[in-house]
């Protein structure tokens, strides 16, 4: 009896594991890794979309290059920096609003009242509506001439004249953020609600018996307890918001005021058919998100360590 053969059943099981993983890994490699690698590669060439064969290697020219004393490339393009600023504003503001509003909604949903079931269902509606549809619905409501939002605000006397919510450069980004908040808050609310429902009842009983004001209870009891869930929600949503595309593109197209990194990259890539530069813009977005992910992970680990101590 060879001693080496003593784990053949275990080995067979591990082989099975890889066999059963293989199709998923293969597909994921084809749809994620390969395209990502190609995008990376294309970003170093002057390829045009659909004609990568004739591409020439240009190094980092698409990113940044100095010619005759002048800087060229994406990183020298004010438009890219504008897109970065818009994207960061969008992500920070919308996620902050979603978390505050989502927590509020979750608290309401966690209370006992007659129409709670109906309410929980209603919360899912904005989440279920396709992004493109939400974008269109709100674009219509925000229409400068025939929109109901202007009509309502005029009737209430809050504005003196109709506003061009989506065309006005000062308002457009905020309008888009408002729509994102409407659409995504339910998701945050559901996560927070799930966390709230796992809280032990007895803390509250104790607090109620002690006659502590509910607002105080929220800040000193509830909030610390749901903090981990909130952090997860914030990270998920933030990394998601950094990639925003559909909503912005459908509501305001390629307009500068709302140009985000995704919209910008697609514009170069598809509209200008410039695969080299477009890929470079995509890679930059990828790098920005990767950096933020790492930061988030570090923050989360710090949180976990902090809790242990």
């Amino acid at each position: 009896m060879a001693a080496a053969a003593h784990d053949s059943l275990t080995r067979a099981r591990v082989r099975t594991a890889w066999l059963f993983l293989a199709p998923m890994l293969l597909v994921l490699a084809i749809v994620a890794l390969w395209p990502l690698a190609r995008t990376l590669l294309l970003s170093l060439t002057d390829a045009s979309l659909g004609n990568a064969g004739a591409a020439r290697f240009v190094g980092f020219e698409n990113y940044l290059v100095k010619e005759d004393g002048v800087w060229y490339g994406l990183l020298a393009d004010p438009l890219w920096w504008l897109a970065l600023r818009n994207t960061l504003t969008f992500a920070f503001v919308s996620v902050a609003a979603e978390v505050v509003l989502g927590t509020l909604i979750a608290l309401i949903l966690n209370a006992r009242f007659r129409f709670r079931g109906m309410m929980r269902a209603a919360v899912l509606v904005p989440w279920a509506i396709p992004t493109v549809v939400s974008a269109k619905m709100w674009a219509w409501m925000l229409h400068d001439q025939f929109g109901i939002v202007n009509d309502l605000l005029l009737r209430l006397g809050l504005i003196g004249a109709p506003l061009a919510w989506l065309a006005n450069a000062d308002l457009a980004l905020w309008s888009v953020i408002a729509v994102d908040v409407w659409k995504t808050t339910p998701f945050v609310a559901l996560l927070v609600l799930a966390a709230l429902q796992m809280l032990p009842e007895d803390c509250y009983e104790a607090a109620r018996v002690d006659g502590i004001h509910p607002v105080k209870v929220f800040f000193f009891v509830t909030l610390p307890l749901i903090r981990p869930a909130l952090i997860v929600a914030v990270i998920f949503r933030f990394l998601d918001a950094m990639r925003v595309f559909d909503l912005v593109y459908v509501m305001t197209g390629n307009a500068d005021a709302t140009l985000t990194l995704s919209v910008h990259a697609r514009q170069i890539l598809v509209d200008f058919q410039d695969a080299g530069s477009g890929s470079a813009a995509s890679v930059l977005l990828f790098v920005v998100i990767a950096l933020l992910s790492v930061l988030c992970l570090l923050a989360m680990r710090g949180e976990v360590l902090g809790r242990r101590q």
Partner: protein, 275 residues
């Protein structure tokens, strides 16, 4: 007195919240039923019941075809991601091997990929496979969204199933494939419904790939079709038609979500809270 005031205030808050959540869809429904020039007046209540907008999107546009495309793509995506996700979840949730956690983490990392970062590479691939302007390109490319969470959610559910049932089946002579199909699949079907539904919604709603990889009106899926609806002439407002189309594609989704409310919430929070 205080208690009453509080109760009234709470009711008002709930009512306001309900209005905030539901009004846009309600308004889309009203708008979709306005014909002719009624669209130019702002109404808070239904002023007309006129289905001409609905008739028009189906007669003047290939909207029925777009719906069919969306349905085909969504079902194919659900079937494929469940199949791949289930087998992968069996390995990741049930078998110990080195690198298992690293793999799970890598799969999660893919779900953080920005879509545009793979756009040019994917475009090449789609052309290389001869799938440009074909629905298959969408089925294939949507795997990048659906696989990561399908694998995660199914793995976390798979881990919770008792070991002894699997061992009993092994003693009965079940091989891995039999285990997956005849033991785990039936036991996991609630999780499968949840993840399938999430995958369906993702596929039904996707926009960027559908916009980029599909050229002809007849091959388009619904979101792109809606985004590209324009009026018959430059002076005609297309909003009636757009709202009709929006309501048409959203209603089935809302029904689906309301019916499977509990399962969906469980799936959404399982993915996030446990992960």
């Amino acid at each position: 007195m205080m208690a009453l005031a509080r109760a009234v205030a709470f009711r008002l808050l709930v009512a306001a919240l309900l209005a905030y959540l539901l009004f846009p869809f309600y308004y889309a429904v009203i708008t979709s039923m306005k014909g002719g020039s009624a669209i130019f007046s702002v109404d808070y209540w239904p002023s007309q019941i006129d289905f001409s907008n609905y008739a028009r999107i189906f007669s003047e546009q290939p909207f029925a075809l777009n719906m069919l495309n969306s349905v085909l793509v969504a079902f194919a995506v659900v079937a494929l991601s469940l199949l791949l996700g289930l087998t992968a979840a069996f390995s990741l949730g049930r078998i110990r091997f080195r690198g298992r956690n690293a793999l799970l983490f890598a799969v999660l990392a893919v779900s953080m990929f920005p879509q545009v970062a793979v756009l040019s590479g994917m475009f090449e691939l789609v052309r290389a496979f001869g799938l440009y302007n074909s629905l298959l390109s969408l089925v294939f490319s949507y795997m990048i969204f659906t696989l990561p969470f399908t694998v995660w959610v199914l793995t976390s559910f798979m881990r919770e199933l008792p070991h002894e049932i699997e061992e009993a089946a092994i003693m009965d002579g079940a091989g891995p494939w039999t285990l997956v199909v005849r033991i785990f699949l039936p036991l996991l079907w609630p999780a499968m419904v949840t993840t399938g539904l999430l995958a369906f919604i993702v596929a039904w709603n996707e926009f960027l790939f559908a916009l980029t990889f599909i050229l002809s009106n007849e091959q388009r899926t619904v979101p792109v079709a809606i985004a590209l609806i324009t009026g018959g002439s430059e002076f005609e407002l297309p909003w009636g038609g757009i709202m009709a189309a929006s309501v048409t594609v959203t209603l089935p989704l809302i029904v689906l979500v309301l019916v499977f409310q509990r399962r969906l919430v469980a799936g959404l929070t399982a993915g996030a809270v446990k992960g």
